[in-house]
Amino acid sequence: MARRRKWLDTRGVPRFELRLKALGIAMFAVLACVSARLYYLQIVSTKQLAELADRNRIRTLRVPAPRGLVFDRKHRTLVDTRPSFDAVMVPEDSTDLTATIRNLERYLGNDHFADKLAEAQDEDRPAFEPVAIKERLTWEQVVALETHQLELPGVSIQVTPRRHYVYGSLAAHVLGYVGEVSKEDLAKLPGYHVGDEIGRFGLERGLEGYLRGVSGGRQIEVDAVGRRLRVLGEVPERPGYNVTLTLDLDLQQAAEQALGNRAGALVALDPNTGEVLAMASHPTFDPNQFAAGISPAAWRALIKDPSHPLENRAIQGVYPPGSTFKLVGAIAALEEKAVTPSTTFLCPGGLWYGNREYRCWRKEGHGNVALHRAIVQSCDVYFYQVGLRLGIDRLAHWANLLGLGKPTEIQLPGEKAGLIPSSAWKRRRFGERWYPAETLSVAIGQGYVGVTALQMAQLVAQIANGGIRYRPQFVRTIEDNDGRVVKVFNPEIEARLNIDPTVLEIVRNAMADVVNGPGGTAHRAQLEHIVVCGKTGTAQVVKEAQGQRVKEEELPEKFRDHGWFVAFAPKDNPQIAIACVIEHGGHGGSSAAPVVHDVLAKFFELYPPKPQLRAAKLQKVLASERYASN
């Protein structure tokens, strides 16, 4: 105590040695504190800090797998994936965000970069997840960003595989489109990440599981401004499977060309397998628009377009079938023995039933008509009578047997079932009994009846192939990137209808005369050397007012009739079955038949008919060929 007092003593002379000693002790105490801090950092909490150091320098990046390719039946590429150079940014890597954005605007122009970053922040972006700030950079922009990287900390260029539809809008409704996975999808679907592509429509959606592939991952060392230095580890990605479709590119092009600018749909099937050879729907859209992330304005324009370009009319457009439905009536009547081929009815131009006249399309009437001429000349009165003899439920039964009124279960999402009314349906729907007068309109394909073009194509395919209903198919094979077959789609028979072959023969003969015979309604579908069988249809959009006939040309477009034509060819060994509907096209023989004619002509140019074989034998040969090729 006494010694300590000495240097505290303010009266004596302070002793230098004691002060030095005090300083020495103080200095060592301070250095001990520093050591303690080092001990704490380097021994006690080294684990967390080492983790932080690694988190600083290691980024795990997902490497998205390229989506599979889509080919037509002759292995021509319809959809592929091409690299798109996108600018992405990790805002955490930029020390001065406003300066970086200013520099970005210098090289890329003003593109609301700050808004995009703010938006990403609002969407609970995980830290250090890159934000896409500009897609599809031009080569000049890529070079500008690469050379000025030091002024753009956090900005990097990402090469993203992006969907590319080689023929633009061709078969857009079939191929569909992709989009960025949405927040709702992310919540539902495991394995998807922010920014992933997902099939949204058409085959892109229907075959998502095959086309998508499995993304890989890459651990990358980055420096303080986010530049990538080297790859530390990698899990390779598995590209999506490649899909070969049943579509024929040339036929598809011919079909879309033939439809032209008119709204409508066309479906061409191979009646012996159910393969879809062509499926066209107009108006259409360009799926490439969606691949880069469609702008809200463009999306609104597509959605609000009154012509509904996003609708696949071939499977989502439900139309009254009009007179093409008489094929169903004819089969039903013959099978149910309601009529014989020689049964005749008198057509004076209309039929009085109840208190009103149900008119035939031909004012003058057809006189005494039997089944053959009733189909060829599409006599309405004949089929009113058939409808009355059959009753709605037997008619509906046969329509259902032939595949109408329910989805065909094609591989496309969003298919409509259409509607075949029955007395049970009416009770269910309206709580009312069925009135026999309503059967009259159903018998000529009007009233409640609604079908899709695909269903009608399937219907003629069954007439053509002797009553076998194949499930319509779009996909032949699915292969992996090395060409190994992952899945083969064989023809799937949905139903074998026990229809008397002579019944179908009678219908086929009549259909041949529709196109080729005297008084037939579809001469414009005739082909040289090949016998085309068909049936026209004209579906009323609005019920004509009682007792009035309005000239088609005088009606405003939206009230004009839909024109139908269904066909198959050649008559003796059918290779193609087609259904075509032209919205508000007027008479089927003048609107839809020429379209079908062009497609048939193209088809036989591509696939010249084989020498005459009996249909059954041919079917066998074709089937074995198919199995062999698979």
């Binding site: 230098f16 030095l20 080092l38 080294t46 080297r230």
Partner: protein, 368 residues
């Protein structure tokens, strides 16, 4: 002039060896801090320059050791005037880097006069306080003259702005005044006044200086802004663990996460690569140097030499403490170098000069 054999006989090898050791560690650290994965086959120009300065410093150190420190007292005022002049020159024609005017460009070297000013101030203060203190110790009135000499360089340096060096001058001043025998009551009064004046000083700080103090108190308040340096430095030091990641294997330094990694934050680079073992070894070498320096101060033949030695030791101590304290997050970030380790010609050469004078003080015990 023939070299006095006694000088060689009494030469202080301990200071010399410790200096060489620290210089070598510094060289390793500078190599590591300037190392880039992309250019590893050639030495970075920084390393070469550091080596050149180290050699030049060694020559200066030996010259200073043979130089009789006692004659410094008579040059004290002249030295002080020259030092102040150069320091003032910086404000006029200084070379600015990173928003501060701290360097004079002499062509071959960017001189940082504040380093020189530190030494000059030590000499002047030692000269002033060489008289034995009166009974009761130094009172306020005895401190007026030393304070008057200290304040101009402090203000000049603080207005560069170089808050760290200005602070260092005041700390060295305080240490020397304490050792010279300040009255205990006066000391307590001064401390009390300083504590009360702190809020006023806050008012005069530049925004970035305030920001540093705020982020020191809470680094997480702005992890990518002002707190970034502290956090990254702590991560670097801590991730070194007990044995370190190995020479040139540190990621925090090599990947540029550390700020000022060749100068102010060199310790973090070193600690990341050499771990607790390395940083404790480094700290031990400093501790030995400091205790040996204090011993020299006590053994010095006159008060001028003792105070000179003490001033030098105080400079080393404060710089080590502040630098490591800031790298480990226990002190706010101020630009203070780690003696003999940080890259930088001025600080290295002046520090070696000071160590030469320390040897000189030790040698002169035996030579009358």
């Amino acid at each position: 002039m023939p070299i006095d054999r006694r000088i060689l006989y009494h030469f202080d090898w301990r200071v010399f060896v410790l200096t060489a050791l620290l210089g070598s560690i510094g060289l390793l650290a500078v190599i590591s801090a300037s190392y880039r994965a992309s250019v590893h086959n050639s030495l970075h120009p920084l390393v070469v320059r550091q080596l050149v300065w180290l050699c030049a410093g060694l020559v200066l150190m030996l010259s200073a050791a043979f130089f009789d420190y006692r004659s410094l007292g008579s040059y004290a005022y002249a030295l002080y005037c020259v030092g102040l002049l150069i320091q003032a020159l910086v404000l006029v024609g200084g070379h600015a880097r990173g928003g501060a005017r701290r360097w004079l460009n002499l062509g071959f070297i960017a001189l940082e006069p504040s380093e020189l000013t530190k030494l000059v101030l030590i000499i002047v203060l030692a000269h002033f306080l060489r008289e034995k203190p009166p009974t009761g110790g130094l009172k306020l009135r005895h401190l007026i003259a030393p304070t008057i000499f200290t304040l101009p360089p402090v203000f000049l340096i603080a207005s560069e702005p170089d808050l760290g060096s200005a602070l260092l001058l005041m700390l060295v001043f305080a240490t020397m005044v304490f050792a010279a025998g300040i009255n205990t009551r006066t000391l307590l009064a001064i401390i009390l006044t300083a504590a009360l004046a702190a809020p006023v000083a806050w008012h005069y700080l530049k925004p970035y200086q305030r920001q540093r103090i705020v982020s020191f108190l809470n680094p997480q308040s702005d992890p990518l802004g002002a707190g970034y340096h502290v956090i990254q430095s702590e991560i670097a030091v801590g991730s070194g663990g007990p044995w370190g990641k190995g020479f040139l294997k540190g990621t925090q330094g090599r990947l540029n996460f550390l700020p000022e990694q060749t100068t102010d934050f060199i310790f973090a680079v070193f600690a990341e690569e050499f771990g607790f073992a390395g940083s404790m070894s480094l700290l031990t070498i400093y501790a030995i140097l400091i205790s040996h320096g204090l011993w020299i101060a006590r053994q010095a033949r006159d008060r001028f030499g003792a105070l000179l030695a003490l001033g030098i030791v105080a400079t080393i101590f404060w710089q080590v403490t502040i630098n490591i304290g800031m790298a480990t997050g226990i002190l706010p970030v101020v630009g203070i170098t780690l003696p003999l380790v940080s890259y930088g010609g001025s600080s290295l050469i002046v520090m070696m000069l000071e160590l030469g004078l320390l040897i000189s003080v030790n040698i002169r015990r035996f030579i009358f």
